[in-house]
């Protein structure tokens, strides 16, 4: 097998989503100048999409899930002419209402705005962080769209740790707004940060953070 055959194998692995970030970048760069590999990718990508489309299982989610999602969808549709935020969790949506000072609203997931009203808020230049007992909610406003192929990624630094831990990636909506729920405890997190990273995220920051937010202990 020659080197280019190996690259064609790498293209197949890339199409399947089985390469790490560095290997994937190599393939993408190579395909910019290799018609044969581009053609191979174009042939195999639809196959992978077809495989994915057959991924339905017999398991079904709770009917309550649909209720939560539709409640959020209909609420967004009725409360704002402005397109709604991309919200990962219903609870995060509730946080946003809280941030907007819209009063007490009962939400799903066993928490209420009243409970969240005790959450500490940590402001930073592009928004604020709401520190809940088991999650940090990063609310950003007016962030510029990330460059093509890039996303924003959140990071947390545990108290006493010397290195940050990779967390959720996100892309803000057309207004630059987003609410991101980070599964980290405010009691054990020293800081959160946001950086621009390749789509899919990184294991370590590869760019200077756009925001570093110290999470002071209460």
């Amino acid at each position: 097998m020659n080197a280019h055959d190996e690259m064609l194998d790498n293209v197949a692995a890339y199409a399947l989503g089985a390469l790490n970030a560095g290997e994937a970048r190599e393939v993408v760069v190579h395909m910019r100048t290799c018609e044969e590999c581009c053609a191979e990718y174009d042939a195999l990508r639809p196959v992978v999409s077809a495989v994915g489309s057959a991924g339905e299982s017999d398991a079904i989610p709770s009917p309550l899930l649909k209720a939560r999602i539709m409640k959020e969808v209909r609420a967004q549709g009725s409360r704002a002419k402005r397109p709604s935020l991309a919200i990962p969790y219903a609870l995060a949506a509730a946080c946003l209402l809280l941030a907007a000072g819209l009063g007490t609203v009962v939400v799903e997931q066993h928490q209420t705005i009243a409970e969240l009203s005790t959450a500490r808020r940590v402001a930073f230049a592009q928004g604020e962080v709401l520190v809940a007992p088991d999650r940090l909610y990063v609310v950003v406003r007016g962030l510029p769209a990330p460059p093509p192929g890039k996303v924003y990624q959140t990071w947390t630094l545990a108290r006493g740790a010397k290195a940050v831990t990779p967390s959720v990636t996100f892309t803000p909506d057309e207004h630059g707004d987003a609410v991101v729920a980070i599964p980290a405890s405010g009691a054990t997190t020293a800081a959160a940060a946001i950086s621009v990273e390749p789509a899919g995220g990184s294991q370590q920051p590869t760019t200077k953070p756009v925001a570093v937010i110290p999470i002071q202990s209460s």
Binding site: L16, A18, L44, P46, G52, A54, E56, D173, P183
Partner: protein
Amino acid sequence: MRGDADEARRNDGLVVNATELMERVRARDADAFEALYDAYHRLVYGVALRVLADPASAEDVTQTVFLKLWSSPGSFREGNFPGWLARVTRNRALDLLRSRAAHPQLEFPEAMPEDDALEDTVFAQLDREIVRRALGRLADHERTLVELGFFGGLTHQELARRTNTPLGTVKTRIRTALRKLRTALDGVAAG
């Protein structure tokens, strides 16, 4: 058997057209969004569950994917809607795994491109049972690599470890398997 173009059968037996529904979702039609949910929630939940192996986390990802679909309906315009949805779901499930990784040095695969490729339309009309039958006709070691690679969210290094197969052989087998699937699905799509 081929399914009608871009259509899915809901649990209540109704057939829905995803492209048409997405146009209505872009116009902020919540009823159209609900129809999409009914038609595709089992796909999204199924993919998330296979990646995460945890029902509660799979529900979190399902919620994330559908709310993103509502907030950014312009992210899909054309192509294979369920295939695109499966890619997005896999990426979000891997995001969750990455955020929870006890060891940040653990390696995860790069996210799959989430653009809606026109090329994907070629198999958008195929019923999922046809795809499953084509997968079933692969050699066991080929099918395992394809399914673990997509639904297991594994890198080829991890696939090599799990299947006790040399790294180069894994990638060659992945390509062979995807090529065989392409030929099989081309035959059905042309028929």
